[in-house]
Amino acid sequence: MIDYSKILSRTVTEIKPSGIRKFFDIAATMDDVISLGVGEPDFQTPWSIRKAGITSLEKGKTKYTSNSGLIELRKEISNYINRKCNVEYNPTNEILLSVGGSEAIDAALRAIITPGDEVIIPQPSYVCYEPITQLVGGVPVIIETLAENDFKVTPEQLKNAISEKTKALILPYPCNPTGAIMEKADLEALAQILRDTNIVVISDEIYSELTFTDGEHVSIASIDGMRERTILINGFSKAFSMTGWRLGFACGPQEIISQITKIHQFAIMCAPTTAQYAAIDALRNCDEAVANMKAEYNRRRRLIVDGFNKAGLICREPKGAFYAFPCIKSTGLTSEEFCERLIQEKHVAVVPGTAFGKGGEGFVRASYCYSPEHIIEALRRIDEFVKEI
């Protein structure tokens, strides 16, 4: 008999599985679960974008594109990033279309990590950075961001995390799950530390359109001296409600992007053609649709934050992305206990903060990608639950 323990990669088997498996299983036994567990917009992709995809199919645009992606789309991305983030990238050799932001993160880490290199990863954060780092032989160095710092990376934390082996800093802002953002002054302070180093910043800005402050999202690439050491990653999933189209992109200095493109060329070939045609429309014609979705998210955000606080679960104002990250320590339960009991007793699904790193203990993530009516009902049940503990 084949011995699978001998054939599977040790690196892969050592990666720990996602911590929310058991909640899936509990939820699967219920048919009336009210979920706040989904990190994906509930809006349909704006019609003009879908139409552009359909038209491209009708015209028979069903072949590979160039490895980097359609030049027409790269030009639009160049304009878009310049308009939104005030950084210029040359569409011919500094932009790469990827299969979602995820592929760009994977390829970026592969392009820069030599086994043994350290990658600084702030947590709580999206679940992919640590395993991908491990897969490429890198060593994750975790910064635990704190509620009292609004879950930002502080200059002191960064200084302490840097060693001579540090190769990269992941900067996941606006942040899933905390909703934290890094403002210009915060980024300036980090830039001051990074400027004279050979540390690359992988700035995952997939939620850049979803910030709820007076100012606009600021990319670290726009800070003096940072463009040359930053790989800016973004995509169409969150801002344009295009999760299933699988389209993201990386922008950076030609020296780095050309290496990432090499990996992409061998592993992927090119990003989905239909999605690329659709995305051209997204960048040309959808400012209003994006603004409307953002306004709707903002109303829901206020609703959910207010509801948690009224239920006695302290919830800071999340300034970006589409998650609330309330503190549940007052209940005396751990994050996992809270989530398990909440789904068992009230059939409401939220994600334990610990799914996003150890530092998430004491918090849960609640997505507000749901209608206000749905959120109101979930909050009503959560309020009941907290009172009954």
């Binding site: 909640f23 979920s35 567990g37 206000p372």
Partner: protein
């Protein structure tokens, strides 16, 4: 706040003042006062419920009637529109551009009753020169609300 408040109420008239205030980042007092003003100004004209009558075995029928009208000097279409609107059978009256003048939505207990109403009441109005009656066979969407269940949330319960 006015436009955003109206948009919210248009999607759900049952939001409480507190919920509206939270979503709009206003105080409940300010929202209540604004609703009051909107009602007094006649901007908010009423609150109704969207009902799928088919589900309660209601056999009543609706029709859309196209009326051609000779407008009166000075009064234009106003006089006849007001007269048509005054019937309790009439749910809506619109002045139209294009092939006909007034679009009238009529509700009745049966085809016969609606037909009789059109023949006896609408067609006989002096300035009405012709009518064309179209019966509604099925409702798919009413006041922005879909009456057929086509869209389910097919996202998973959990998705990181």
């Amino acid at each position: 706040m006015r436009n955003e408040l109206l948009k919210l109420l248009a999607t759900n008239a049952r939001y409480t003042v507190e919920q509206l205030a939270v979503m709009l980042a206003e105080t409940p007092e300010a929202v209540a006062a604004e609703i009051d003003t909107l009602q007094k100004e006649g901007v908010i004209c009423g609150y109704k419920t969207v009902i799928d009558w088919e589900k309660v075995d209601d056999t009543s029928v609706s029709a859309i009637i196209e009326l051609n009208v000779v407008p009166k000097a000075d009064l234009g279409f106003e006089e006849v529109a007001e007269k048509v609107a005054s019937y309790s059978e009439v749910e809506a009256v619109y002045l139209m551009s294009g092939g006909y003048d007034l679009n009238v939505v009529v509700k009745g207990k049966s085809l016969q009753q609606v037909s009789r109403f059109v023949a006896r009441e609408l067609a006989t109005i002096d300035s009405v020169t012709s009518t064309a009656t179209h019966f509604v066979m099925r409702r798919y969407k009413e006041m922005d609300v879909k009456l057929i269940e086509t869209e389910k949330d097919d996202r998973g319960t959990f998705l990181l």
